[in-house]
């Protein structure tokens, strides 16, 4: 164990000898927690819309005003006919066309219900869907208003009043920040130990170590421990940034965030070492790590929720350590879940880290 101390001193010296790697330790959490939540937001606004008002009545005019005043839509054009509006849609100037037929007001008051047409460009499915929802809500609300004003027999089928639990404003940030933290950790804590290990192989320095009495457990630990410490720093730094920049703080315990993150760091760093042990060159390691990280990230629930995947895919994601950490961190950040509530995530994470750590030590051979 005395030797481990010197191995660690050596690793620390090497880590801070160049300035690029230490910069990464600050840059990655900064970019992921500050920049990305601003850009990659799922809230849709500034939707361009064209309105064809063939009725020119007070009811139809008010509807147009309601749409443009909603904050979600930019009224780009008032068109005379559908062809004109469709042209705009094809050119990409607008994504939504609302057509109000001649006699809209008359029919509405006479029959209690009138039709209008909504055309949506759904090349971007999410944008189309959300815009459709917003528009429907605006129209429903307007109908309710008219109903109250006239107190006539217009039909209002039901009134849905949603209440969003845990994230009342449907704020995207507290949902994404824990996931982005997990992504940053696998990027740095997976890649760096792997590249460090394999570069010793490529440079031949591992030969010199292999003829010394340094044990493999000590050697592997000397490759991992520095990154565990850096990893915990990154977790703390990311939370600090999330708090100061986005006012996002965990609803649950901060200690719990560190505990889960630590077990997760053990896993991904050991995974990096395993990959390095099986490859001979930096290139092989880098490509293999990219493969794992991309597959893990895409199947983790980072982008699309695990619960909306097909059943077989949901089963496959059980093999993905990133899934457990993203779920746990989101629950801690948003719901404030306790340790016992998160046991179903914690146990698989622990098993995963025990397996990868053992594997990392066994797969490292001093002798061929």
């Amino acid at each position: 164990m005395k030797v481990l101390k010197y191995l660690l001193i050596k690793e620390y010296k090497q880590m801070f000898r160049g300035y690029l790697i230490p910069i990464l330790f600050v840059l990655v959490p900064f970019a992921l927690t500050n920049l990305v939540p601003r850009i990659a937001t799922q809230e849709v606004s500034n939707l361009d819309i064209a309105v064809i008002d063939n009725d020119h009545s007070s009811v139809s005019k008010r509807l147009t005003e309601k749409i443009s005043a909603s904050g979600f839509f930019n009224l780009r054009s008032l068109c005379g006919n559908y062809m004109e509006a469709y042209d705009l849609l094809q050119r990409g100037d607008v994504d939504f066309i609302v057509t109000i037929e001649n006699g809209f007001e008359r029919i509405l008051y006479r029959e209690g219900a009138a039709k209008m047409m909504l055309s949506v460009n759904s090349v971007n499915g999410m944008k189309g869907g959300l815009g459709n929802n917003y528009l429907t809500q605006i129209v429903m609300q307007y109908a309710k208003e008219l109903n109250e004003e006239t107190r006539n027999s217009m039909v209002s089928p039901m009134n849905i009043c949603p209440q969003f639990l845990f994230n009342s404003q449907l704020n995207y940030k507290p949902y994404m920040i824990p996931a982005l933290m997990s992504l940053g950790l696998i990027l740095l804590m997976g890649f760096l130990p792997a590249l460090n290990m394999v570069s010793e192989k490529e440079k031949g320095t591992i030969e010199q170590i292999n003829v010394t009495p340094v044990g493999r457990v000590e050697f592997i630990l000397s490759k991992l421990i520095p990154y565990w410490i850096v990893g915990l720093f990154i977790v703390g730094f990311s939370m600090l940034l999330a708090w100061k920049i986005h006012q996002v703080v965990p609803a649950g315990s901060i200690a719990l965030v560190f505990l889960f993150a630590f077990v997760y760091i053990l896993t991904v760093s050991a995974l990096g070492i395993i990959v390095a042990n099986y490859s001979d060159t930096l290139r092989q390691t880098a490509m293999l790590m990219f493969f794992f990280i991309i597959v893990f990230a895409l199947t983790s629930g980072l982008v699309s929720p695990v619960s909306s995947m097909p059943d077989w895919a949901q089963e496959v994601t059980r093999l993905n350590p990133v899934r457990y950490i993203i779920t746990s961190l989101r629950e801690i950040f948003l719901k404030g879940s306790t340790f016992t509530q998160l046991l179903p995530q914690f146990i698989p994470l622990c098993i995963y880290s025990a397996v990868t750590m053992t594997w990392a030590v066994i797969s490292y051979r001093k002798k061929q």
Partner: protein
Amino acid sequence: MNIISVRNLHKTYNKGKTQALKGVDFDVRQGEIFGLIGPDGAGKTTLFRILTTLLLPDSGTAQVDGYDVVKKYKDIRRHIGYMPGRFSLYQDMTVEENLTFFATVFNTTIQENYHLVEDIYKQIEPFKHRRASKLSGGMKQKLALSCALIHAPHVLFLDEPTTGVDPVSRKEFWEMLQKLKTNFHLSIVVSTPYMDEAMQCDRIALMQGGEFLTIDTPQGIIESYTDRLWSVRSDNMHRLLTDLRKMEGVQTAFAFGESHHITVDASLTFDVFRQKLTALGHQEIQIEEITPSIEDCFMHLQN
């Protein structure tokens, strides 16, 4: 007493397709410089990697410092110094940091064994705060030797230490090895593709294609060379070699630097030989009887 004894060592690569060692037998005595001389691909590095416990042999046994390389590899690793052919110290650490690091992983300190490396380390000490990557080739080599010595090994393995090193540094390096031998009675196994360095060793093994051609003192190898060896020059060296190879009475002919070395039948005399060459149109002919070098012996044994 033998510090290393190797018996019938075999090693193959690519599932038996490449035979790297085809049954090697030898002993290295305590306190001698033992040279493995052979061209690239002779199996020198494979042999080194087995003896330094980095590679498992297919069959055969090897003992280093009294320990079996397969069963007792942990004991061996405490008592050997290894300098691989490629510079393999940490380039991003300084001279001093490298030396301290290798001392500490062997649980010792620079002070404890400073007497061993003093002569060598003194030469690079002025640059001790310089990163290893910024050292010149000769200095890198001195640092590598210091690092291999700092834990006072019983036997030193040097895999082609002088390959790619300038002639002055090569000479210096061999002087350092001689000092280590005389002053500390250190056993040294060294491999080299340079035949001229063979004379520096106490005993050498000429190696080729995974086999030992012979093991003896350099002097013994030269003395066992019984053929008549001539050195020949003419105005057209290229054609001369072809002519020599065709000529009756000439057994072998090799290009050897500025002249060709030939072995000849006992019946052939200088005069007859000169006449034959003149008849073939050669001019400025110079013939000399020479004593063989190790390289001549190697060429001879190879056939």
